[in-house]
């Protein structure tokens, strides 16, 4: 369990980092290394060059203002989780991050690294979609931004080109009347989700006016639940959950089975998780409490 040979560089500027990344077809960005390094040790991933971006100037910013929370590429998950300002502007961040690995993993793992790695069972990509986050991407042609919604194409597959680096992400501030929650069923505390849900509910007088619902861990990528987003309109704490359950069950038609659970289990559990979450949020009447 030792990696194949690789080169390593630790540039100080984003221009150098971008150039290094463009210099080889199999160069990879190293930030927290919590997913990349294990996959290298298994030799599943054999990059020729690691571009360590932790010293790159300007990537370590965590900024909170009225528009939202901006997170630079080298900002760790723990730093975001521990920021009360970030929690108050975008409560979904802390609610997602508490499910991400364990303390030691969050101390090294980065928010942007998780967004770039695109594990289909990861919490942060789903939250980014539900919350309407935008990614800032730097490539040989310069900088661009991309909506998280639409960025995820398949397992470990995003709209990022090989020579591009995610330099930051901006989560818009949660609007008044909106409640963002993240909940999941995992085999153990800290595991990737067997079934997960990131949801932003817009509440009107204790019922749901609209919602952005994103599943994770269910299919090959985080996925908007189109039928459930329709079905959830008008949902309130006393409502029967059957319609909403059925809609989520249909949305998850491409759920995959693995050693932890069957596709059928994931469809059932996603429906149940959504109903339970929607009920809890409706009952909380737009307060800041999470689903659990």
């Amino acid at each position: 369990m030792k990696p194949a040979a690789f080169d390593y560089c630790r540039p100080a500027s984003i221009d150098e980092a971008a150039a290094a990344l463009a210099s080889s077809d199999s160069a990879k960005v190293l930030a927290g290394g919590q997913s990349l390094v294990p996959s290298m040790n298994f030799r599943i991933s054999q990059p020729s060059l690691l571009v360590d971006i932790r010293d790159v100037e300007g990537l370590d910013g965590l900024e909170v203002d009225q528009d939202g929370v901006s997170i630079g590429a080298s900002v760790t998950q723990s730093r975001v989780m521990n920021s009360d300002e970030a929690y108050s502007a975008v409560p979904g961040l802390r609610r997602a991050l508490r499910f991400v690995g364990h303390l030691q993993i969050r101390n090294r793992g980065t928010v942007c690294g998780s967004l770039a790695h695109a594990d289909p069972a990861a919490e942060l990509p789903a939250l980014a979609m539900a919350a309407g986050a935008r990614l800032t991407v730097r490539g040989p042609q310069g900088e661009r931004t991309a909506a998280a919604d639409g960025f995820y194409l398949g397992p470990y597959w995003t709209g990022l080109e090989q020579s591009e680096i995610i330099t930051g992400v901006c989560f818009p501030a949660e609007a008044p009347g909106t409640v963002t929650v993240v909940d999941e069923i995992a085999r153990r505390s800290g595991d990737f989700a067997v079934v997960g849900l990131a949801a932003a509910f817009d509440l009107e007088d204790g019922s749901v006016g609209g919602a952005r619902l994103v599943s994770f861990g269910v299919s090959g990528r985080p996925q908007r639940l189109a039928a459930a987003e329709e079905a959830v309109r008008g949902f309130h704490a006393g409502a029967a959950g059957d319609g909403l359950y059925g809609a989520a069950y249909e949305d998850a038609a491409d759920a995959v089975g693995d050693i932890h659970a069957s596709g059928e289990y994931r469809r059932e559990a996603l429906g149940s998780l959504l109903v339970r979450t929607a009920r809890a949020v409706s009952a909380s009447n737009g307060g800041k409490a999470g689903a659990r």
């Binding site: 085999r187 998780l273 339970r276």
Partner: protein, 812 residues
Amino acid sequence: MTVQMKVESPTGINPMIRHRSGHIGSSLPRREDRSPLLGRRRYVADLKLPGMLEVAFVRSPEAHALIRSIDTGPALALPGVHAVYTAADLAEVGSFPHTIQYIRPVDQRPLAEDRVRYVGSPYAAVVAADRYTAEDAAALVSASTEFETLPAVAVLDQALAEDAPRLYDSWPDNRLVDFPAEKPEVTKAFEEADHTFTETYVSQRQTGLPLECRGVVAEDVDGQLTVWSSTQSPHIVRTTIAMMLGIPEPQVRVILPAMGGGFGAKTHQYPEDIVLAWIARKLGRPVRWIEDRFENLVSTVHARDQRHDVEVAYDDDGTIRAVRCAAYCDVGSGEIFMPGTATVFVTAGCITGGYDFPNMEVRPVCVVTNKTPSGAYRGFGTPEGMFVMERIIDRVARLTGADRVELRRRMILQEDQMPYIMHSGGKVDSGSHAKGFERAAALIEQSLARAKARYADDPDVRVGVGYNNYVEPTTPTYHLTTGHWAGYDSATIRVDPDGAVRVALGNTDLGQGAETTAAQLAAEALGVDPDDVTVVMGDTDRAPYGLGAWGSRGAVVMTGSVLMAADRVLVKAREIAAHMLEASSDDVVLADGGFHVAGSGTPKVSWAKVATAAWARTVDLPEGMEPGLEMSGYFEPPDLEHLPGADGKVNAAATWSNGAHAGVVSVRISTGEIRIEDYAVVHDCGTMINPMLIDGQVHGAVAQGIAGAMYEHFQYDPETAQPRFASFMEYLYPTCSEVPEMTVEHFETPAPEQPLGVKGCGEGGTIGPPAVITGAVSDALADLGVDITATPVTPAAVRRAIREAAARGAAS
């Protein structure tokens, strides 16, 4: 504190020695804790020898294949590679011994020769300057190996089929062993019973999973071979290496520097130890191999892979008349010595647990498949059996409307039945079975009420309770497992000139605290402070031959052997002291760290003075006395049988601990999520030497039991026998978040035949959880018709059981 030591048994154990005022029974802090807590404990992986090279093994990617050719050229061409060895190079090395007469012989070579039978099987070894290079070279060897793939056998039913591919061409089928059993009284009970039912119960494949993986360092200097190995039995490894390499045993030294857990998985004789020893001699340089976690998951023994096809005869009132059981154990390829055959015999022997149930007929069958060889894991067959028995009792309760607790009460062993001879010949020597169960049931009744109140407002959550009453066979014979070694262990005690005591043991410490326990025993026996006792274990040159730590035997064999050796030291020391006191040795007693004449005000003779006379000032010895103050004890536990009698019955354990487990779970119907709300253990291992260490054993073992009940599961592709696991992403052990707080209480029913009344305590905690958790989940979901028949019980398994029960309900 005064210790009055009776010295009446110079050649054996005085069973009347039962001190409870001194070091026995005291929760002395572990002396072993300091170095690991500071990160300074030295494990095999911490050894760095001058000129040491690294070994990486090339392991089969095929589940079942012939090796057509291996081209070592590309690997040898890599800079930094010193050698690549295959089975052909090891022709001079023998095969692993075939000592177990009741199973079919498996010719196992240290490196697979022309055929591989599981993914992970080592077939070549690379020696390089560092592990990175060694792994690069191993990848090249792998890419340069030509296999001819054979049909794989991945599933039990497939292995048992008439037309199944054979793992061993000379065998008529894939059965390593099959012991048909038929009892006339069982047949009769089936004829007489009101009802019968059949069911299949399945326990999944797991492993011991020590935090420290295996590791070997070997060095040969001037023909003296030293092997550092993370093994539970250094002397047995030494014997095996000497035998297979054909060198005199005194020229081999095996050292266990420190161990980060073994759990049975490190009792086996592994090919890597032999290959490293051979390479060290071949190259004349020290070599090292440290098992990584992937290797640990595919090449260290698996366990618990059992299926039980049962037939139960019962009456309307809930009386269970008889059980017939075909106990199948999937032992993988059977290519690690000793193969995991003995576990299913323990399952068969102990399946009735703490119940008076003679009409049990079990047919143990071991089946080979193209999976990692199976072997020992803490519990050694008992958790699998108890799971089956408790599920049967709950099913009969459900079918007849009998109360689950009442039904168990009717069956449980009573004190006046002791000693109780089980259906298998196991002699349950003593115990607190009935009162332990009553206590556990009372404890958990309160928990159940609390949990019901907690979820009263949530119609999606159900609460249930599960029970287990087990017996734990401890200090077993090794003869049925190995076909060679048997059951004793040893201690050598030396009192050095300054009066300090050195105890050397054939037992080893895997992390349980055996060193602390041994110091307590010696301190008690010799009337000294535990801090004045140095304990030596795990080194074949420094400790006497012994069988090591397994089978919950440490406490019993250490008590026996330490007291024997101490008795002998005391007899001699007292004679020396009596000579100095000018008294008869019968009048001399040991008190407050010295000898004096009983009832007199004479000054004391210290251990230092006695020992100085024995080693240095021999002019002070009684005339004609042999110098020296060092004695050994070789303790063969009484009541232990090594071979079955003519009726096939055997008491294969020296003493039998017991316990009652009970647990409450909540289950969320919509998602199948399970939460252990509370867990209670009422435990009895006889006289307790160090209650704190025993609590630790119970806590850790229950955690591993929960692992088996809910989490850990080696899954293989049913067609190809390829493992569907490579890391802890797939093989899920419970973390501290998953293991609940638990209540642990003790009864102390002394073992009547064992010194100090001590019984073993290492494994009992693993036995209960599969039975308890599946019982509790089934109870919680009883009105949905759910009855769990397989472990692990996961959220997905719960949902599947609910769906299947609903389909059955709709069909009927």
